[in-house]
Symmetry: C2
């Protein structure tokens, strides 16, 4: 009898197949731990891993407002422990882990400015504790950490590759960078086989749509699905590259390759668009009657906005053979279809 809580759910499949674009790495029968596995990206990864035949253990703290929910893994046969990754209780879950996808963390930039210490705890200190547990309990596990392109801050030269200096403009960027660098320190100092992925803006199924603080994509999607007007700050000409979560899942799995050990990779999309273009596409895809409007920048948002950003993902393409496979148009259509089939996401978690 394990000391952690064990949930076993029936195995009757997810709503959409997120494994289609995954690299052909065989994780069948492999013991995988997914931290943050009840959240947006983590649950999509968990769906894919289960479909590949991996033995999946999920750790999630279910921090309020973060989007984690049992609903996200409904129907999957996975072990779940509800715990902070810094807790001693994760020892048992890590014991025997072969691959650890470390996705736990705080993702809201505005929340990070409201409570800087909490963001540093969730994105840095808890990861230090987790890495200490890892090197003691499961020192040979492959570890893939989810970082963010937010670590770069405002960058002059576009597209942005990994040699650009990181000058984050908000506490979330500072804390995520510290978490990422801790993973690299544990590789250099202790041979823990870590990789970190700096993810661009991600959208897709199982994202919490009801918060205004988890980035612009879920907000745009919710407004469009409810035929409300999408409000864009400023002139809407800031550019972003957006990645469907299935492409993120395939990048996470590709990053378990040996060649990725000790490496940091940008993970973005070759196609960048203005916020106006993205809004138009989402409005059209959802057949929203709300349209969109331009409104003046709220002061506190503008100061920590990074302007345009386009990810250069050529390093991961060259070294691991990964590149985004889903166009924004196809990805948005898939996402709209998912939420039309599960309206729970519009109002819950």
């Amino acid at each position: 009898m394990p000391v952690y809580e064990l949930y076993q759910c029936g195995n009757f499949g997810g709503v959409i197949d997120t494994t289609s674009s995954a690299e052909a790495r065989d994780l069948s029968g492999v013991v995988c731990v997914v931290t943050g596995g009840l959240g947006f990206i983590g649950s999509n990864l968990t769906h894919s891993l289960v479909a590949m035949g991996a033995e999946v253990r999920v750790i999630d703290a279910l921090v309020a407002e973060h989007g984690g929910s049992f609903h996200n893994v409904d129907g999957l046969a996975v072990e779940i422990i509800v715990a902070n990754i810094g807790d001693d209780r994760v020892d048992d879950v890590l014991d025997g882990a072969q691959v650890v996808f470390n996705l736990a963390g705080q993702v809201s930039h505005t929340a990070s400015m409201r409570d800087p210490q909490q963001d540093l705890r969730l994105n840095a200190l808890d990861h230090a504790a987790f890495l200490e547990t890892l090197r003691r309990v499961s020192p040979t596990a492959r570890v893939v950490h989810a970082s963010t392109r937010q670590v770069y801050g405002r960058v002059d030269r576009q597209p942005v590759d990994e040699t650009s200096a990181a000058n984050p403009l908000d506490v979330n960027g500072v804390a995520k960078l510290a978490g990422e660098q801790l993973h690299m320190v544990y590789h250099h100092a202790y041979d823990v086989a870590t990789t970190s992925l700096r993810l661009t803006n991600v959208y897709g199924p199982r994202q919490r749509l009801s918060s205004a603080e988890l980035g612009f994509l879920p907000v745009f999607m919710r407004k469009a699905l409810q035929s409300e007007s999408i409000r864009i700050f400023g002139d809407g000409l800031q550019r972003r590259d957006c990645l469907h979560v299935s492409d993120v899942v395939s990048a996470l799995i590709a990053a378990t390759a040996d060649a990725a050990v000790g490496r940091v990779y940008n993970v973005g999309h070759p196609q960048d668009s203005t916020l106006v273009e993205i809004a138009e596409l989402i409005v059209a895809s959802a057949a929203s009657t709300g349209g969109f409007e331009l409104i003046p920048w709220p002061h506190d948002h503008q100061r920590i906005d990074i302007g345009s950003f386009h990810t250069d993902s050529s390093r991961i393409a060259a070294e691991l053979g990964w590149s985004a496979s889903i166009s924004l148009g196809d990805g948005v259509a898939d996402t709209v279809s998912f939420y039309r089939g599960d309206s729970w996401y519009l109002s819950s978690i």
Copy 2:
């Protein structure tokens, strides 16, 4: 009656004059707060500020093994509060502060690997709390933060300027970088007038010599003063630029200039030397009969060693007019002379 403890000491001067090389900024009558003011660099700064006629308030947590001691400010008329910079109790000290020199922190790289969370707390979380207090209590104060060249990690291109990407190799470098970046975030988001200085290896009076964990310079100095053999890891051909603490004090004061707001500066010495050359110089200056010897690298040290490092300080020279003024030979001679006159440092704190 303030809520904090108030210590008033007689004003009968420090042992050496650290103001001679300071930039001619007039801080006479200015209310200055020095966090970590009982430590090595902080106490030397405090001596200079008092000599300039500033009104100095010191905050120091006197964390064990960190080198902070009342002995360092013996004879100075300063207010001292013994508190962590994250404590609510610092509110009163910051009230009315015009210049804040934020030097508090953990400096031991090996200690940071032993207790990563503690290092992150002292160098990042506590600074987040301190910056929150600052922007509430004293939002217009000039703030100068002490960072370290340790944030860079191992760098291919020498000398190293501020555009080099920071890839720290130990937890201390990760945490110090987070602390530095938090200062920049508070400038961008809230107009707090922050500057951060990435200091190279520093030596000089009032450094704790009795620890093996505060860098090689105090260890070399202690061994030479006691005529014991200096042990150098490896071939001793790694290069370093070393800065006398008086030059650091002048850089801290120069960094209160308006032009420095929102900027990060390297602070190093144009002269770099091998560890063998530095040991030879210290041995000769102290007339040590112990000499030095080369020994194999301890495994845990080698993994986090950065190899050679030479600081490029041209940005601070161009923008603030600061450059190092004390040669290694003169600085070591001054340092030996100081410790010969105060043997307390060889065995205490």
